[in-house]
């Protein structure tokens, strides 16, 4: 499985993670899926709604923000394809907590932020059995 993201959008995701460090940052990835090819076209940056003291290792996107995101996606003739979030000083692998709350089908892009600097992003999709994730390979597009 591949997911296609422009270098600029990937850079925006990583900068967002750096800006929210040492807390986790998160948002929605909008785009299109055609013939099983997912392309991210726009980001919605959202507040981490977890309590301040837990934001270093937890994030929450409220149902109100999801409702807004769905309406934005409709307005843009787009779809919510997934969620991005950062792991401050942790690897860009899904945690057990990520798995527990993950929703199938969505792409989960995780960026590792080490000492305030982005150290790479990887993308994951929950398997149907909910027991583990499959990796989606990020294919970076250069827009000319």
């Amino acid at each position: 499985m591949n997911i296609y993201i422009s270098a600029d959008i990937l850079d925006q995701i990583q900068s967002h993670g750096e800006n929210t460090y040492p807390n986790e940052g998160a948002g929605l990835m909008l785009g299109k899926e055609e013939n099983s090819k997912r392309t991210i076209e726009k980001l919605l940056f959202l507040e981490n709604a977890r309590e301040e003291e837990n934001q270093h290792n937890r994030y929450l996107i409220t149902v109100e923000d999801m409702l807004w995101g769905e309406k934005e996606a409709d307005r843009l003739n787009s779809s919510i394809l997934g969620i991005f979030h950062s792991h401050p000083d942790h690897p860009n692998l899904p945690s057990e907590y990520d798995r527990e709350f993950a929703i199938p089908w969505y792409s989960y892009l995780i960026t590792s932020i080490n000492n305030g600097k982005a150290a790479g992003s990887r993308c994951w999709r929950l398997r149907d059995d909910r027991l583990s994730f499959s990796e989606e390979i990020i294919q970076t597009l250069t827009i000319r």
């Binding site: 986790e24 998160a26 977890r50 290792n57 937890r58 994030y59 929450l60 996107i61 409220t62 149902v63 999801m66 409702l67 769905e70 779809s79 919510i80 969620i83 979030h85 899904p94 945690s95 907590y97 990520d98 709350f101 993950a102 929703i103 199938p104 089908w105 969505y106 989960y108 909910r130």
Partner: protein
């Protein structure tokens, strides 16, 4: 019959349907009808104890049913229920 709108991530488990028309006088009956018709939906809506997963929110129009009578919220045939996920992780 009330209508249940299925969000994009769950449509593969409902044979691709975006809306389902299901009998039920309360929210709970509509959800039970959905998982009875499409059993693959069940593990994504309910946990092993049969409770709604924490990320599953059911809206009746603009209102979260948790602010109404929860799963016992009464429905009319013209009502539309939405499943809106909230997203969490760490």
């Amino acid at each position: 019959m009330p209508t249940l709108k299925i969000p994009t991530p769950l449509r593969p488990y409902a044979e691709g349907h975006s809306t389902l028309n299901l009998p039920g006088q309360v929210v709970e009956e509509v959800l039970e009808g959905a998982v009875a018709t499409y059993p693959l939906l069940k593990k994504h809506l309910f946990n092993d104890e049969g409770k709604l997963r924490p990320y599953v929110n059911i809206f009746l129009g603009e209102d979260n049913v948790n602010q109404l009578a929860g799963l016992k919220t009464l429905l009319s045939d013209a009502d539309t229920l939405l499943i809106i996920p909230s997203i969490a992780g760490g």
